[in-house]
């Protein structure tokens, strides 16, 4: 290592920093940094850790409500769900690693988000995953779907956290850059929540979990770089997940959290020891000395650079109360995990690294962690789409429905979720396949959480603001549809290269849409994650701000599901149908056009209609509930029929049948109730100000649209259930 360079001379390898950033490094350090120090700057200032392109905009998101206990800024968001209980949750991306090695990439993604949640004191009770793959006929897609699904299952099943929900889309824009976003929801007592701010001069800094190896050195910078053809060749070291160790780590940490020994705790995520130690010290305004010789190593001959930048999984950093080391160590020994005191806190505000009796690094913490660069990147507003012109309808109505229901985006995801243990812990009240998953809250006879992830990237692409709103509104609607009160969201902002003004414009627009929806629905953002540079050879993905929503059901026995319950019941539609075909699945998959503006989101109508439906559910007035989303009203009815195993006869509201049947107008729900209660239900909905209309009656083996045709429920089901297994078996 040559230290004797002149300050103006830039090292050959800037490790991903720009020259301007390197100048800032020199200014902060007052000297030329050594390799370890530069490595630390590089990961800490990577897009992934510093949010340098997105910070300015994220700050505009609403994050407060009386029930928010902890908003963005900690490992995960925390909300009050009553009775002294808190729900803790977050979503995070693992896109690039999953493209390179789908099994391990997805598995370690699940591991990482679990740690973010249990590090705050929560017992993880549910996992969800939002996945985006390339076109089904792209050569890599099948392999990626298989690897990602097996990886998520392999990890989640083993750690014993049920995987209860998620979403999957296919679109050619993800051919070279898939999205794997994982969400974890946990439960804690409000007086037992743990934070990451270090405190207490001299307190021991403790390392627990797995040993450190040379895994994924520079993963954080990789997550912030665009793919090009040779990154596939380079095949950087990927991390291998060890769910068994994670399970032990969860149990050991939760056991430790029951003792009075922890000052602060933080998982080692991206950029491992570097980011965890810097964040803890910085949040607490402390300094820290680390003895790298004490870090448990898996391999011999590891260098300080490797120790600091390793992304080995299943590790945590803890600040203990002085003197409590033996008690803590006993717990980790019991669980057969490594435990090592690797340093202590100081009041210098500096991070000092020692190795083999020498000082190998000395950096000021605050300038590095907090004063990281923040960019106001140039952006242009996404131009509005031209209004949709005349549409030619190539297929008769029911034939189009039969085809749509078995299409890649609308077909059943059963092949995926049956590979996930969605039942372990015995509290899953609504399994995957419904509008939102429902998991009971431990220690309560009747309380449960509802959760979902949603985003419609084609809407966001066509109009980022409306699309951003829609993603939030859809989670709110899905939680409402099972009878939950939506409380808060986490967001996972997946976008292309922010250095391109059009992409930055998508980001800015989506944030604006999310903001408006959160405000209107009283539904704040409590945690999130940003993944930029999702592009290959200069082609960006569809902008994908995936939203994870969480709500509460006070009485789980009132929970609604989407299956028709009995023949002869009335079917009602809540919400207004105008027949908006722009950006609909029907338009894309049946008519071959991705065109027009997306459906506008009327947030007032969302609130009114949703509140009305929730009221019906809580009062036990309805027997089945399902919101209208992709594929519109016709697909919603088909979903309800397939789940029931019997059909219905309906008359569509007046208008063009394709627009009415397949239009994707927002803020709508289909509900059923005993026929003789229909008038009472209609009256109750009207009182709350929501539009409502009667569509018909349930019953029979077919789904019949008066005047348009009939299709058997069996045929719908065969198409719906057949596509994904057939595709994965290589049949399509």
């Amino acid at each position: 290592m040559s230290e004797a360079k002149k300050a103006v001379e830039y090292p050959k390898d800037l490790m991903g920093l720009t020259k301007a950033e390197y100048d800032l490094v020199l200014e902060i350090m007052g000297r030329v940094p050594n390799q370890v120090e530069l490595g630390i700057f590089s990961v800490m200032w990577s897009e992934h850790c510093s949010y340098k392109s997105s910070k300015k905009w994220l700050k505009t998101l609403p994050t407060k409500a009386p029930w928010v206990i902890c908003g963005p800024g900690e490992n995960a968001g925390v909300i009050d769900i009553g009775d002294g209980d808190a729900a803790i949750f977050k979503m995070e991306s693992h896109n690039h690693p999953s493209f390179i090695e789908p099994y391990q990439g997805a598995a370690t993604g699940v591991g990482g988000i679990l740690r973010d949640v249990f590090t705050m004191g929560a017992r993880p009770i549910a996992n969800l995953n939002a996945l985006r793959f390339g076109s089904p006929d792209h050569a890599k897609t099948r392999h990626l779907v298989s690897g990602v699904v097996h990886g998520i299952g392999g990890y989640g099943n083993c750690v014993g956290v049920p995987t209860v929900g998620g979403e999957v889309n296919f679109h050619p824009s993800y051919n070279g850059n898939i999205l794997v976003n994982a969400m974890t929801v946990g439960l804690a007592k409000q007086d037992r929540i743990f934070y990451s701010a270090a405190a207490g001069l001299g307190n021991p800094v403790v390392y627990v979990g797995s040993k450190t190896g040379r895994d994924g050195i520079h993963g954080a910078t990789m997550a912030s770089a665009e793919f090009n053809e040779d990154s596939e060749e380079k095949r950087p070291t990927v991390q291998v997940g060890d769910p068994f160790t994670e399970k032990l780590l969860i149990e050991a940490c939760l056991e430790l959290m029951n003792t009075d020994t922890i000052v602060a705790i933080q998982d080692m995520g991206a950029a491992g020891l570097t980011s965890s130690s810097f964040e803890m010290a910085s949040k607490g305004g402390m300094g820290i000395v680390i003895d790298l010789d004490k870090v448990p190593a898996r391999e011999t001959g590891m260098t300080p650079f490797e120790f600091m930048l390793s992304e080995s999984q299943e590790r945590m950093l803890i600040i203990l109360k002085p003197g409590s080391e033996p008690q803590a160590e006993a717990i980790f020994k019991k669980w057969e995990l490594d435990f090592a005191v690797i340093g202590h806190l100081t009041d210098t505000g500096r991070m000092v690294l020692r190795f083999s009796g020498e000082q190998v690094g000395d950096l000021p913490i605050d300038p590095l962690a907090q004063a990281s660069p923040e960019y106001d990147r140039p952006w242009v507003k996404t131009p509005p789409q031209k209004p949709l012109g005349r549409v030619n309808h190539p297929l008769p109505f029911v034939e189009a429905l039969g085809k749509l229901i078995g299409s890649p985006d609308l077909s059943s995801r059963r092949w995926i979720w049956e590979q996930y243990d969605h039942l372990v812990r015995g509290d899953t009240a609504q399994i995957p396949g419904g509008d939102a998953a429902v998991v009971r809250v431990e220690g309560h006879a009747s309380k449960a959480l509802a959760m979902t992830t949603d985003c419609t990237p084609r809407y966001v692409f066509a109009d980022p603001v409306e699309g951003g709103k829609q993603a939030v509104a859809e989670t709110w609607r899905n939680i409402t549809a099972v009878g939950g009160r939506p409380l808060a969201i986490t967001d996972n902002m997946n976008f292309g290269n922010p250095e391109r003004p059009d992409i930055m414009g998508q980001f800015v627009g989506a944030v604006e849409g999310i903001r408006e929806a959160c405000l209107a629905l009283d539904y704040p953002v409590v945690s999130g994650n940003v993944s930029l540079y999702n592009e290959t050879n200069g082609k960006g993905i569809l902008p994908t701000p995936a939203i994870g929503g969480v709500g509460v059901l006070d009485d789980v026995s009132k929970m609604a599901t989407l299956a028709f319950k009995l023949p002869g019941e009335a079917i009602l539609l809540v919400g207004k149908t105008q027949g908006h075909l722009g950006q609909s699945v029907y338009l894309r998959d049946i008519c071959g056009q991705e065109a027009g503006p997306p459906p506008p989101v009327d947030l007032k109508a969302e609130k009114t209609n949703g509140d009305a439906v929730r009221m019906l559910i809580t009062k036990g007035m309805v027997s089945a509930v399902h919101d209208c989303a992709d594929g519109g009203l016709a697909v919603a009815l088909a979903d309800m029929a397939m789940a029931a195993g019997f059909g219905a006869e309906v008359t569509l509201p007046s208008g063009d049948e394709f627009e009415i049947g397949f239009g994707e107008d927002q803020a709508r729900y289909v509900v059923t109730c005993p026929a003789d209660r229909a008038e009472a239900v209609i009256a109750a909905v009207e009182v709350s100000g929501a539009p409502v209309a009667k569509l018909g009656l349930t019953g029979g083996d077919t789904l019949t649209f008066r005047g348009l045709g009939t299709i058997s429920v069996a045929q719908l089901k065969a198409a719906h259930e057949g596509w994904l297994p057939g595709y994965m078996a290589g049949k399509q």
Partner: protein, 84 residues
């Protein structure tokens, strides 16, 4: 003609299975066991036209199979051995 493909994790890649086996051996009283690594040994029977090709040709074909399917070359190495 048979081929054996030995697939093992690359050096430095975490081997959770190996680690757990090592610990289990220790607790069974086999203390003198250091690092444990678990790999796969895939045995293929070769038939048809392939079986009657020259050894280098067969080896190349099996390597191709390993590359394409049997090993995950992002994290695994493989070696090929022809038997009989």
């Amino acid at each position: 003609m048979k081929a054996r493909v030995h697939v093992s994790l690359k050096n430095g890649v975490l081997d959770p299975q190996g680690r757990a086996i090592g610990q289990a051996l220790h607790s069974l009283g086999f203390g003198d066991v250091g690092e444990v690594r678990q790999g796969k040994l895939i045995e293929l029977e070769l038939t048809g036209a392939l079986a009657s090709k020259s050894r280098p040709e067969i080896e190349a074909a099996v390597k191709d199979m390993a590359q394409k399917l049997l090993a995950n070359t992002v994290i695994e190495n493989f070696s090929v051995e022809l038997v009989g």
